[in-house]
């Protein structure tokens, strides 16, 4: 009975661990340049400021502002993922998995806040997911060409 209980707890723990490791592996994908910056500037996304505030200035977590900011950025980026330079107008499987991962960490962040525990690592993970989404959108937009110009070059000529 005790052995079965231990196996149950450890197996559930390891199942979640492997899911998390898979998501982190997808997030670790390197892009050949920082595509996310143009998307952040064009859409006035705020997650880089959240990350900068936490990493560089080590400010205490302003929970309501961070929640609102990350949620808004998430909604904007998931909309763009589906509709910007995406001929299929749907999410890929890895995007769906990362969206689930974002929601799970967001839920964990609420729990951490409720229990008054350290929230910073969860917030940094959320910003990493948002940056990945922005990178994917930027990469796709960059591939769209207007004559000999890429999308960003085209915008500069206007």
């Amino acid at each position: 009975m005790i052995l079965a209980s231990m196996i149950l707890i450890l197996s559930i723990g390891l199942f979640l661990f492997y899911l998390q490791a898979t998501c982190q592996k997808i997030l670790a994908r390197k892009f050949d340049q920082e595509y996310f910056q143009s998307i952040v500037d064009a859409n006035r996304l705020e997650f880089p400021f959240v990350r900068k505030a936490l990493e560089e200035f080590d400010t205490p977590v302003d929970y309501p502002w961070i929640c609102m900011t990350l949620k808004c950025d998430y909604l904007a980026l998931t909309y763009l993922l589906k509709n910007a330079a995406n001929a299929e107008q749907s999410y890929s499987r890895e995007e769906r998995l990362l969206m689930l991962y974002f929601r799970a960490i967001f839920g964990a962040l609420c729990t951490l806040h409720f229990l008054k525990l350290h929230e910073k690592p969860a917030v940094l993970k959320l910003t990493a997911i948002l940056q990945h989404f922005a990178d994917v959108i930027g990469y796709r937009v960059n591939k769209v060409r207007f004559g000999n110009l890429s999308a960003s070059d085209y915008l500069l000529t206007l």
Partner: protein, 243 residues
């Protein structure tokens, strides 16, 4: 009605994924490079899409023949997954010969112990296979494989193997082992519960689907990325040797 539809949907999804991954490995020429994965997927395909439906059609879902066949083939698949994890150990330590030589002995010993204990316990409980024994046996077998897989994951992180494909394959096997191990443990703790018995019909195929999806994603990592990983591994090893 809806439950049956969902079950069939998941089951046919698994069949499609198995056939798709196997064809992808064969037609895109990954068979030689990923011989272990190809053999495992071929075994899974043969048992899951050909043998089990045939036995089910011949004897019916509630027959003892189907029960025995299902659990014996499940144990065979778990043992072949064990061997696949061993092949991943070899891949992780391909440039560290001393480590592989000591690992090989440990893995062979563990495999012999697992097979030996499995055979002995099956023989001792031959008349009691319909009871809780089967659940306990499967739970222990899957958990042993899960522990071995986790040791491999820790090893990959420890020796810093720059192989994204291998890491994703190991994560896939972890999901494949962890889900059923937890479910068998739950079935063992709640004997006679039809709810957990019916949950098992979803957990197993869903975990297999997750594992196949991850394998497909891992195999599709572009050649350039794999070459970068190999180069990083080579440079890392050179630095270790210099040190």
């Amino acid at each position: 009605m809806i439950e049956t539809l969902v079950q069939h949907g998941i089951q046919y999804g698994v069949y499609l994924a198995e056939v798709g991954l196997f064809l992808y490995l064969v037609l895109w020429g990954h068979c030689k490079r990923l011989a272990g994965v190809s053999l495992y997927v071929a075994g899974l395909l043969t048992i899951d899409t050909i043998a089990r439906p045939r036995v089910l059609a011949l004897y019916g879902f509630t027959s003892p023949q189907y029960f025995y066949f299902f659990y014996v083939t499940d144990a065979i698949l778990a043992l072949s997954a064990f061997l696949l994890v061993c092949s991943f150990f070899r891949r992780a330590s391909v440039e560290r010969r001393e480590m592989w030589q000591s690992l090989r002995l440990v893995l062979v010993s563990v495999f012999i112990i697992v097979v030996g204990i499995s055979c002995v316990s099956l023989k001792m409980n031959y008349t009691n296979l319909f009871g809780r024994f089967t659940t306990e046996f499967e739970q222990n077998l899957y958990f042993t494989c899960l522990v071995l897989n986790t040791v491999l994951y820790i090893l990959i992180q420890h020796v810093q193997v720059a192989d994204d494909e291998l890491e994703l394959l190991v994560c896939g096997m972890g999901i494949q082992f962890a889900g059923p191990a937890a479910n068998f443990a739950l079935m063992y703790l709640t004997p006679g519960s039809h709810f957990f018995m019916s949950v098992m019909q979803y957990v197993g195929p869903l975990c297999t689907l997750g594992m196949l999806g991850l394998c497909f994603y891992a195999v599709r990592i572009p050649k350039a990325a794999r070459a970068r990983a190999r180069e990083a591994r080579r440079l890392g090893n050179a630095a270790v040797r210099r040190a």
